[in-house]
Symmetry: C2
Subunit: 110 residues, 2 copies
DNA sequence: CAGTTAGATAACCAAGTGGTTAGGTAGACA
DNA sequence: TGTCTACCTAACCACTTGGTTATCTAACTG
C-alpha cells in the first residue's frame, strides 16, 4: 500500500468493520472489549483493525488500568472530504449550473 | 478486500496513481496512453489501475477505433462525502458549536 | 500484404491484508 | 500468593495487490 497520508486514510476506511468502529466511537470513547462485541471475530483481529485506524490517525489510544480506551480523531476525514469536494461539480447539480454559467461568462469575456 | 460498494470505492481511492488518474479525467476524457504518460510504470500496470477504477464505478470506458477513451464518473464520490459528513461535527467548528447548543437545549427540555 | 500503434491478457513475484490460534504481559482482587 | 480480566504480540494461513515481462488481438497505414 502507498504510504502517503491520504492513501493510508482511504485504505483504513476501505473496510466495513473499521467504519463501524469509527461510527461507534462517534458516540464516545470505548474499550477494545466494547468495540469487539458487535463483531463475530477474535480479539487479535479487532486489535489489528485498531492498529490500522491508529496508523491513519483516526483514533488515539489511552490507558486506564488494564483498559485501553479508544477515542475518535476525525481530522483525517476532513482531508478526505476536501479531496472529494474537488469533484463536487461532477455530481452536484447546483455546482454544475454554476460551472456552465462560469464557462458561459468566460466565453463572453474572450 | 470487502466487497460492499463503499469499501470498493475507498479501496480504489487508496492509491495516489489512481487519484491522479481521476484528477486528470476531471479535465476531460482521455485514452489509456494519455493517462499512462505521467507515470513511470508499464502499460499493464496502468491497465490494472483502470480496471480497479472501473470496478468501483469511478470511470467508464468507451471505444473509438484502437483507442479506449476513459471518462470520469464521480457519483461514487458523493457517497464518500455523505459518509464522511456524518463525522463533520468532530472537525467543523461551526457544527461543533451547533452541537453544544443542541445539547444545551436538550438538557433544558428534560 | 507487412508493419505499427493501442490496449488487454497471462503468468509470475514480492509484499501486504484479514483472519486464526497460542502464548505473553499488566493490572485488579481474593 | 494465585487467579481473573483486558489486551497485545508472534507465528501462521489463504488471498489480494501492485508491479513486472512476454504475448496476444484489433485497428489503422504504407
Amino acid at each position: 500500500m502507498a504510504d502517503d497520508p491520504l492513501s493510508i486514510t482511504f485504505a483504513a476506511l476501505a473496510d466495513p468493520t473499521r467504519r463501524a468502529i469509527l461510527a461507534r466511537l462517534a458516540e464516545g470513547a470505548a474499550t477494545v472489549k466494547e468495540l469487539s462485541e458487535p463483531f463475530a471475530m477474535s480479539g487479535p483481529a479487532v486489535s489489528k483493525h485498531l492498529r490500522v485506524l491508529e496508523r491513519a490517525g483516526l483514533i488515539t489510544r489511552g490507558r486506564d488500568a488494564q483498559w485501553r480506551p479508544c477515542t475518535l480523531d476525525a481530522t483525517p476525514l476532513r482531508e478526505v472530504t476536501e479531496w472529494a469536494d474537488g469533484f463536487r461539480r461532477f455530481w452536484d447539480d447546483s455546482y454544475r449550473r454554476l460551472d456552465t454559467y462560469l464557462e458561459h461568462m468566460k466565453e463572453k469575456g474572450t
